[in-house]
């Protein structure tokens, strides 16, 4: 029961706090691409890979009081902060979720901006293409974000680093 919810809760427990819905989405997508067992289905949207199923799960976790969502007014837009609650911590004790080295990845990903994670997740979405094709594709689908060559290079290097750590 709710094993997939428990995985999301484990991630929040490990992160302590995640600021931003987009960031939460992209972190889980990137971890899924690193073979962590998140089962949510992602599709490509205007802002990169996005999972409606994950959004619904977070809403369910908030309604069950397992996750606390705080909405902050940033003047013109809202930002959301997510943390596991004490009830969530207690519920999680019923599960034995095995996700080795998760803390290391979460810490690294959580330190990055949501803009950068949007780039990384988009690069990973097209990982069946050659490097040059991926770069060309990102420039087409992310015209508005206007990613510069150095940023894309940094994103590709960051992915290589993640994959190297994943193999160790």
């Amino acid at each position: 029961m709710l094993e997939d919810h428990a995985k999301v809760m484990t991630l929040l427990q490990s992160a302590g706090e995640i600021i931003g819905r987009k960031k939460l989405q992209k972190i889980i997508y990137i971890l899924q691409k690193l073979n962590y067992p998140f089962q949510e289905k992602f599709q490509f949207h205007f802002y990169g890979p996005y999972s409606e199923e994950l959004t619904l799960k977070i809403e369910e976790l908030c309604n069950l009081s397992f996750v606390n969502e705080v909405r902050e007014d940033k003047g013109g837009y809202h930002q959301y902060r997510y943390q596991l609650t004490h009830e969530g911590e207690d519920f999680l004790k019923n599960y034995d979720i095995h996700m080795p080295e998760l803390d290391t990845y979460i810490q690294s990903l959580n330190e990055e901006s949501s803009r950068f994670l949007e780039l990384v997740s988009t690069l990973l979405y097209f990982d069946n293409l050659s490097e040059q094709e991926v770069i060309d594709k990102v420039k087409i689908v992310k015209q508005k974000q206007n990613y510069q060559d150095e940023e894309i290079r940094h994103g590709l290097d960051y992915i290589q680093q993640l994959k190297r750590n994943n193999l160790q």
Partner: protein, 429 residues
Amino acid sequence: MTYAFDKLDEEKVFKDPVHRYIHVRERLIWELIGTAEFQRLRRIRQLGTTYLTFHGAEHSRFSHSLGVYEITRRIIDVFEDHPDWEDGERLLCLCAALLHDVGHGPFSHSFEKVFNTDHEAYTQAIILGDTEINHVLKKVSADFPEKVADVIGKTYKNKLIISMISSQIDADRMDYLLRDAYYTGVSYGHFDLERIWRVMRPRDDQVVIKYSGMHAVEDYIMSRYQMYWQVYFHPVTRSAEVILRKILHRAKSLYHNGYAFRYPPGLLVPLFKESMTLSEYVRLDESVILYYFQVWQEEEDPILSDLCRRFTNRRLFKYVEFTPSNYQIYADLREAFKEAGLDPDYYLVVDSSSDLPYDFYRPGEEGERLPIHLLMPDNSLKELSRESDVVEAISGKKRTDHKLYYPADFIHDLTTHRSAKERIQSLLQ
């Protein structure tokens, strides 16, 4: 004249209960409809197991796909001559609309959950692979199939085209809401489609709605909300989905454990092995699946035969509302089921609203998804829920639910495990 501009000698029309007529002038569209992969959609229901709740819901993905094509065609008629519309994209847009669901499998959602398949990936594969559809599309140009696949995959350069097929107010949703309401026979789900397409405008890279059309869009959002709770999330339909998933899990598990099927699963073996080729995938439809469910009622495995009897004869699981924070109740129930000789992995199932493949309107906060934008009289854009109290009210706090499904008849008939029976009945109250 190139194939892309080749018109039929006479316009073809399909009678349709939702749009009255669906008009086809382009030879390309006509030939795509005639392909084996598109005709296969006649044998896949649009609403999966919903026909077990609303008996009229037998309509297919074939009729829905034609409907999406027709709505898109009519929207393009409104967009023509507008400076933000490129007429060269018309055919691409129509093909993407027609083919957007071609990769759906039988009882798609349950299949994807059990076998880790992805209908969107199969849609791309059918368009790009060695198929009749690919051969027809290639007559336009060598790279045309890839363009169609990119639009459907939402990675095409012209995002306006994508938003016509796939956004929070798109041809896909507008057709399925009206069509599903018609075939289920419910009285909600209706809105003024013609009014909406008449107030749609292309604006840079998205479709926006003229402010004067806000109330028509409110109706659309309300119908979407009501259809979700009254039809798509119906607890009886979910019971049928639960049983369907459990049949597939059981059959897969038996196959991997070397069980000797009286009626071997043949066409499903590649699914069980999770190594299915494209040609094997397009052979699957709901008639194949229902055939196996029919014959497996006679299997020796008591769980498989029981679940197939339940699905075929509509002896569905009962349900109670469930709060997952009461984990101990769930754990105790599992133990009591085991004691009573019922395998809880198959007969005690929690189903959550997030298990369903439908969504609500979202105002696009933090760039999750592009919201519906209103084109204001001063030419600025405003997100719909900021202008509409009705939409704001239903896009605020989200309702979610969890249900616990179980075979009430088995519990009722328990005679040899009286204490387990009493404990189960007490815990389920």
